[in-house]
């Protein structure tokens, strides 16, 4: 209604100016009967009001559509056009919608193609990595050890690529089951044993046995691996310990991973889960991409777990997961 009135304001203004001009011309001509003039004004005003009412009624849906924001892309199709203007607007919107949709599906296809490519590429890279891995496995000279360490980094990098690409299609790629927490953590630690041994960090498990969580093993493994990698990487002193604690509290299962590392500066703490945020520690240690913690948080959100972090600079970091 308001938009309609605003739209018609020039017509109303022009109409009254025109009325005044005509009355003035007659007045100059010497015709000075105020009652008849008032009558003419009243009559033509009635006509104007009639026109406006008619106009408003026929264009009501049109104006309403202009004023209310669309709920979704396909929202406008259910409104019936009742005048030439609204009909042509309807046609315009429809054709735009078609263009938009075709462009969008083209883009979606491109992105999907890209993700497929990345998936395939990562898997192709795994065979050469296997070959190098086997070649250096039986050797124990320092070069082979160094190559093996670099290979570990390559594998982690590839995994990161894979999981980032998969994140958008999370819903198609999830398999929820009940997992024994202690067993999961133990097998994870064993899988990362090289990392622990090289970093001279020792894992300590303080868990209530029999605790289990409902989650997707693959995604959860990725998140925990990420947390463990960070914890070990930022524990600089030798024989540091990495504590794994699990307990039930208020009906929820908690898993804590606490290191004795360098900690995170307080100013960086609120932003550690932001994408591409590397912070002070990231700048001091070369290989930070700032994606690890972001991915971890994002995956936890999708899995319905909570992830938070406490840290004191120089004392260590505690990451807590609530299932």
């Amino acid at each position: 209604m308001r938009l309609f009135l605003r739209e018609q304001r020039p017509v109303i203004v022009i109409y009254f100016i025109q009325l005044a001009v005509v009355t003035f011309v007659y007045w100059l001509d010497g015709y000075r009967n105020a009652a008849v003039s008032m009558y003419a004004v009243l009559l033509s005003s009635c006509l104007l009001v009639g026109y406006l009412v008619f106009r408003y009624l026929t264009h009501r849906s049109f104006y309403r559509r202009l004023q209310e924001p669309a709920e979704s892309i396909g929202d406008f199709t259910d409104v019936k056009p009742s005048s030439p203007l609204s009909e042509s607007l309807h046609r315009l919107l429809k054709s735009q919608y078609r263009h938009y949709i075709s462009e969008l599906s083209g883009q979606t296809e491109k992105i999907e193609g890209h993700i497929r490519f990345i998936n395939q590429w990562v898997h192709q890279m795994k065979t050469p990595i296997s070959v190098i891995h086997l070649m250096v496995q039986q050797e124990s000279d320092s070069r082979s050890v160094a190559i093996a360490d670099e290979l570990d980094r390559l594998r982690k990098g590839l995994d990161m690529v894979l999981y980032t690409a998969r994140l958008d299609q999370f819903e198609h790629d999830i398999y929820v089951e009940t997992l024994g927490l202690e067993k999961l953590v133990r097998s994870l630690i064993t899988a990362q044993k090289r990392l622990f041994i090289r970093g001279k960090v020792f894992p300590v498990i303080e868990m209530e046995p029999q605790l289990s969580v409902v989650s997707d093993e693959k995604w959860l493994t990725f998140v925990l691996t990420q947390l463990i990698t960070n914890a070990v990487r930022y524990t600089l002193r030798e024989n540091g310990k990495l504590y794994f604690r699990a307990y039930a509290k208020n009906g929820r299962t908690m898993l804590e991973i606490e290191d004795e590392g360098i900690g995170i500066p307080e100013s960086d703490l609120p932003r550690v889960f932001d994408a591409y945020f590397t912070g002070e520690n990231g700048r001091r240690f070369q290989e930070s991409t700032g994606m690890g913690m972001y991915l971890a948080k994002e995956i936890c959100r999708k899995l319905g777990h909570e992830l938070d972090i406490e840290s004191e600079e120089g004392r260590g970091t505690l990451v807590r997961m609530k299932f």
């Binding site: 065979t127 070959v131 086997l134 496995q137 124990s140 050890v145 093993e217």
Partner: protein
């Protein structure tokens, strides 16, 4: 001797696998023509199949079904795909196990051994390959025993693993990290001090066989087993 049929299109990987398996007295056949895996299988009649998933033309799942129609021998998938669905697909198509790349030699060997033992039971002893032997010192991995001539000592699982690594690389230096890696498993995580304790125990077991000073500490590097004992009984 057990015959292993390898279907994998990466020649580098095949070569390394073959070399490793030959060390443990397995006979291998690597497929090079991926059009007629069936025929080659029928000619070779292997005891076990290692099968990749991504293959030219048809995938591993297809060949797994084909092989299943010919034989009930153990089939182990080797694949870069680590998704749960891929593993389920593999097992659904008739495979017995699934190993994801990149893998360790130890895992492949352990899985091959265990499937052979399952499938051909009575040959169990043969499936374990030769006992490890350095100048008359023999390590029986299965029974956790160490022999020198007629003498014998029993070992714990961890002591066996340490000796295994040292004897395979006898006369070479084995780093502490390497030994730690060997003996870590899901039940025991070992730190540096614990490793010292285990090494001392291994020395005691060796001296029970009359071997002294064979296990040397190389400062800053690790340990070395020098065969200093007499070979002749």
């Amino acid at each position: 001797m057990f015959k292993i049929f390898i279907v994998e299109d990466d020649q580098g990987l095949v070569k390394l696998l073959e070399e490793y398996l030959h060390k443990f007295d397995y006979e291998t056949f690597a497929v090079t023509d991926f059009e007629s895996i069936n025929t080659q299988f029928r000619q070779y009649v292997p005891h076990l199949v290692l099968l990749d998933v991504n293959l030219p033309k048809y995938d591993g799942y297809y060949w797994c079904r084909q092989i299943r129609s010919l034989s009930t021998c153990p089939i182990i998938f080797l694949s870069a795909r680590d998704g749960k669905m891929d593993q389920v697909m593999g097992l659904d198509n008739g495979a017995d196990d699934y190993i994801t790349k990149p893998f360790d030699y130890d895992i492949v060997l352990a899985k091959i051994n265990s499937h052979l033992r399952r499938a051909y039971g009575t040959y169990a002893a043969q499936a374990e390959g030769r006992p490890l032997q350095v100048q008359g010192l023999r390590l029986d991995r299965e029974r956790l025993c160490l022999f020198l001539h007629e003498m014998r000592v029993e070992l714990s699982h961890t002591e066996m693993k340490i000796l295994d690594e040292l004897m395979i690389k006898s006369e070479q230096v084995v780093s502490r990290d390497r030994l730690l890696e060997k003996i870590w498993d899901e039940q025991i995580f070992v730190d540096d001090n614990t490793l010292n304790v285990y090494v001392t125990r291994v020395r005691k077991k060796l001296s029970a066989l009359g071997i002294e000073d064979a296990l040397q500490t190389v400062r800053g590097q690790g340990y070395r087993l020098v065969p200093s004992w007499e070979n002749t009984p």
